[in-house]
């Protein structure tokens, strides 16, 4: 490679000398590029997670956290049934929300990909717009919709379906379910849409040429190809639903989910070690979920 260094400014020459060194030592280049993000993640994510694990083995004495080893937090979780009840309830709720999100997202994504052309991009963005209005304000808006004197009750009474307002619509697990579904649904639509969009149109034609009608195409062509997207969306929705403590706080009747009990230990009960032990529970659940996802090669699709 010819260079005319004699005619170049000193800054450029110096820079090129450094660049040559860097290129020559590929390791140095790697260190420069890999170092900062690695150090950041180690210091600000791995460190905290390890510390959380350690903290779950410590205890509170005299209203302060002391670094005295104990398994008491874990024995407490397994000897007092309320904690595993809360975990079970949260897993059930998160699963319900996730499955419902799949049911809602699939037809929408399929419709957008197959039957819209000009407006497709705008309609897709229209799914994302609710994400940019404040999460809290959207949750709060559901109180207006589901309340005793709210929109839904007024509507139902107005069309004479019921004569008394249904109080179970708000401050109940139903309210938590509806709200969680609406809030996190776009996170299912995004990967499902991306997955279905990647299906080459020719596959549909090939499928029908080979004699498969509508449903069979969906089952044998669309579903397997969309599955990684569905799984990716499920991870997001499941994880977001599992950890959400604000929606149950605002929409529930005091029934606790795992996010609430963890947040309470840190923000109210001031028992950090016990809170850390509780936090390990959803961590385990999600690690299992992620391990399953890896088997399907889904992490590539994220």
């Amino acid at each position: 490679m010819a260079t005319y260094e004699g005619a170049l400014p000193r800054a450029v020459t110096a820079r090129r000398a450094v660049a040559r060194q860097v290129r020559a030592h590929r390791r140095l280049a790697l260190a420069l590029v890999l170092g900062p993000p690695l150090i950041w993640m180690a210091g600000f994510y791995l460190g905290p997670l390890v510390y959380l694990l350690l903290e779950s083995l410590w205890q509170i004495q005299n209203y302060n956290v002391v670094q005295v080893w104990t398994l008491a937090n874990y024995t407490q979780i397994f000897s007092e049934p309320v904690w595993l009840d809360v975990l079970r309830r949260t897993v059930v709720m998160a699963s319900l929300v996730t499955l419902s999100a799949i049911v809602l997202a699939l037809p929408l994504a399929y419709f957008l990909v197959r039957y819209t052309r000009r407006w497709r991009h705008l309609l897709y963005l229209a799914v994302l717009i609710p994400l940019w209005s404040s999460y809290l304000v959207r949750v709060f808006a559901w109180k207006t919709i589901l309340g005793r004197d709210g929109l839904l009750n007024t509507f139902l009474i107005g069309i004479h379906v019921v004569h008394q307002p249904i109080s179970a619509l708000l401050y109940s697990n139903t309210a938590v379910y509806i709200t969680l579904l609406q809030i996190w649904l776009p996170y299912m639509v995004i990967p499902v849409y991306a997955a279905i969009e990647r299906i080459p149109p020719s596959l549909y034609e090939a499928s029908s040429d080979l004699g498969a009608r509508g449903w069979r195409t969906i089952l044998h062509v669309v579903w397997p190809l969309a599955f990684p997207g569905i799984l990716a969306g499920s991870i997001f929705v499941f994880s977001l639903s599992m950890g959400d403590f604000i929606t149950p706080l605002l929409m529930g009747n005091g029934t606790q989910f795992i996010g609430n009990v963890i947040a309470d230990q840190f923000g109210i009960a001031y028992n950090y070690p016990f809170g850390a032990a509780l936090a390990i529970l959803p961590l385990i659940v999600l690690t299992v979920f992620l391990a399953i996802a890896r088997r399907f090669g889904v992490l590539e699709a994220l």
Binding site: M1, V22, L104, W132, S133, D149, L185, F236, I246, A279
Partner: protein, 274 residues
């Protein structure tokens, strides 16, 4: 093969219902922002701009918004640098633990925010006890946000790098440009769209983040936390509807621009893959 009309109609209706479900709360927010009622029962009584007057004469939400923007900008800048670097590391090099790094950087956004929040808050407490300057403040919030924003930039840049052919870079070097010039004039323009798209996504996510912020903040407020405390105090609800209207109105053009910028330039699409 033409799909029967009834299938298209039913799919279209299903899609419409999903949109209605997604937009119902937004509709409520808009209606109540422009109404004089303070209680949240239906129907609202009379249209009014009074809550916007209240909003613009109350200093607290604006201080909170300023804090939110400050945190979002700081987090985005860190995420852009670290995310781009990580994308290059993963795409251009082979090293032990590549998969693990990719997974590790993605983890903050896969695990529930509460785990990130409680882990980081106790970690910062410990660091403070060791004398390091990590008291809970807007800085710790920015650090927390940056940590889960890195993956947003990284994924975007990675996807673009995979589609970009290296032949242009090689041509540039052949023509006498050094590494830095090649990077600045050839590589960077081709990934600029991805960086911007990732950065704007990171910015938007950081602006509305509640859970991690809840655990990492000191005595100040970001906008979402101001909204949360306002909800808990139970006063002047339509004021939060009003500020939600303001923030949405500003977010939409920002993200539309991001989407436009994230599209591949036509020239790039014509280049064959290496």
């Amino acid at each position: 093969m033409r799909t029967p009309l009834r299938v298209r109609l039913s799919l279209g209706t299903a899609a419409l219902l999903v949109y209605a479900f997604l937009y119902l709360p937004l509709l409520i927010i808009f209606i109540y922002a422009f109404n004089s009622d303070t209680i949240t029962s239906w129907p609202p009584q009379q249209p009014s701009l009074q809550w916007f007057h209240v909003l613009f004469s109350d200093p607290d939400p604006w201080t909170a918004l300023e804090n939110s923007v400050q945190v979002a900008v700081e987090a985005t800048i860190v995420a852009v640098f670290l995310g781009t670097a990580a994308a290059f590391a993963l795409q251009r090099f082979r090293f032990l633990g590549r998969e693990a790094l990719n997974f590790g950087i993605t983890l903050p956004i896969l695990l529930p925010g509460i785990i990130t929040g409680v882990a980081m808050t106790t970690w910062f407490t410990q660091l403070t006890q060791w004398g390091l300057p990590f008291e809970l403040s807007l800085v710790t919030v920015a650090i927390g946000h940056a940590t889960f924003c890195i993956v947003l930039v990284m994924n975007n840049v990675l996807a673009r790098l995979r589609r970009t052919s290296r032949s242009l870079e090689e041509a540039s070097m052949d023509l006498g440009a050094d590494g830095w010039q090649t990077f600045w004039y050839v590589t960077l323009p081709s990934i600029r769209g991805a960086i911007i798209a990732g950065a704007l996504l990171a910015f938007t996510l950081s602006l509305d983040e509640v859970i991690v912020t809840f655990f990492l903040i000191g005595a100040q407020n970001t906008l979402p936390l101001w909204i949360l405390s306002h909800i808990r105090q139970g006063i002047n609800f339509p004021e939060i509807d009003a500020i939600a209207v303001v923030v949405v109105s500003i977010s939409i053009p920002i993200v539309l621009i991001a989407q436009y910028l994230a599209r591949e330039p036509a020239a790039q699409r014509a280049v064959p893959k290496a």
